[in-house]
């Protein structure tokens, strides 16, 4: 398995149907995601997409680059920095920080995240995946 310096970015535009579908699939019906009236009274001012929905775009990027190795050995440690609203376009990013020696197999460490058209960072953090020996 190679250790790409830059991971292939994924672009997604979040729509209301997707947020509702995620609520239904995950069972997360927190009104901050689906109830405009409720969300209007929060500091966000309107409904926000589930953080785990946006995080799934990073997981998709990692799966795309590392396949089953990601499913078996992947790791993510992220912060949700800013809300993603319906209509926002999200771009994933990932760049190799270093490869760390570890027992059994080396570990690739990446800086990863999601950002918007205007450069807003929605999610930032680290991802790891073990190299196949």
């Amino acid at each position: 398995m190679s250790s790409p310096e830059e991971l292939v970015s994924i672009k997604k535009t979040v729509n209301k149907a997707q947020v509702l579908a995620y609520a239904e699939a995950s069972g997360d019906y927190n009104p901050i995601h689906i109830d405009e009236e409720f969300a209007g009274g929060t500091p966000f001012g309107r409904t926000v997409a589930h953080g785990m929905l946006i995080l799934s775009f990073i997981a998709e990027m990692m799966t795309s680059d590392f396949g089953e190795q990601w499913l078996k050995t992947g790791g993510l440690k992220v912060r949700f920095k800013a809300p993603v609203f319906v209509g926002d376009t999200v771009y994933t990013f990932g760049s190799l920080d270093r490869i760390e020696a570890a027992a059994g197999s080396d570990v690739q460490l990446y800086s990863v995240g999601c950002k918007g058209d205007d450069g807003t960072i929605y999610i930032t953090g680290k991802a790891s995946v073990r190299l196949i020996q």
């Binding site: 579908a21 699939a25 995950s26 785990m52 998709e60 992220v78």
Partner: protein
């Protein structure tokens, strides 16, 4: 139970699920996942496992509307397939309050048989009512 009663070190009730293809397909469709490893419909994405855990945890905690998911850690240690039964083990790591927010940190393990397949940490910001 009131959120204040969740003390550090407290273990939440274990929950169990057998993943079925309907759940996995609904998740994959919702997130728009396109990778080939999921095309046969048998593999459960690690974040779908985590989403189930969040649902079972948040459901049991009776958190107020407006709760915000502030950070997330996961480590994958094995592949979960449709038909696999997994159990969750969740512990309260931190429950503190600053200003108008409570900070709740939970650590979790998801086990298949005796093996951990996903583990991690959830940080939630809970508005003080």
């Amino acid at each position: 139970m009131n959120i204040d009663n969740y003390k550090e070190g407290m273990e939440l009730a274990t929950t169990k699920v057998t993943f079925d293809s309907k759940y996995v397909q609904a998740y994959i469709t919702a997130v728009g996942e396109t990778n080939r490893v999921y095309s046969h419909g048998l593999t459960v994405p690690p974040l779908a496992v985590t989403a189930w855990l969040l649902k079972s945890v948040i459901g049991s905690l009776d958190l107020p509307a407006g709760t915000v998911h502030s950070s997330q850690e996961i480590e994958c240690a094995g592949i979960v397939q449709v038909g696999d039964t997994v159990t969750s083990h969740v512990e309260v790591e931190q429950n503190t309050q600053r200003s108008q927010w409570k900070f709740l940190t939970l650590t979790f393990l998801v086990n298949k048989n005796l093996d951990t397949v996903v583990k991690g940490k959830i940080n939630l910001l809970i508005p003080v009512e």
